[in-house]
Symmetry: C2
Subunit: 96 residues, 2 copies
């Protein structure tokens, strides 16, 4: 829930147009949870943009080896409010 | 590792052009792991295509309530082998 708050703060207080959630390993599912909660509950105008996955090599010192851990980046974008439709002008007469 | 094998089988044995990995909840990170292992180690020509996230309502019978679980779909596509460059023809003479 703290992460949700952080994202909402990013959009509302800092006025950011996009917030990127980054996660590694088992926390990937939490990043998706956060993105979904923000999208569904909090801010009507937030959309999920680019999602990227990758992997990173990390070193396990105790076992003296390296292993790969999956990574993920979810870009949340705030959709700009739509401009109000202009009131239709009554048809203007052509100047003679 | 069984999932990696399933994906590789899909591409190599069944000849599929794309394989979609689907996961829910805590298994999301495993889906990303599988996608990354396939992309990096097994098949040179596999690329990660569309990634979609969403959520699903599930019912917990014991507690008589519903909860949301995050879902993810990763599309793996096999990039087609590039057509071999045609051998350059020696310039033909125009017919007179």
């Amino acid at each position: 829930m703290n992460y949700v708050l952080a994202v909402v703060t990013g959009f509302n207080v800092s006025g950011a147009e996009e917030v990127i959630l980054k996660a590694r390993g088992r926390a990937l599912s939490r990043a998706v949870d956060v993105a979904e909660v923000v999208r569904r509950r909090f801010l009507g105008g937030v959309e999920i943009g680019k999602i990227e996955i990758g992997s990173e090599e990390i070193r396990i010192e105790e076992e003296n080896r390296t292993t790969n851990v999956s990574t993920m980046e979810i870009t949340l974008t705030r959709s700009k409010p739509k401009p109000k439709a202009k009131p239709k002008r009554s048809q203007q007469r052509k100047k003679k």
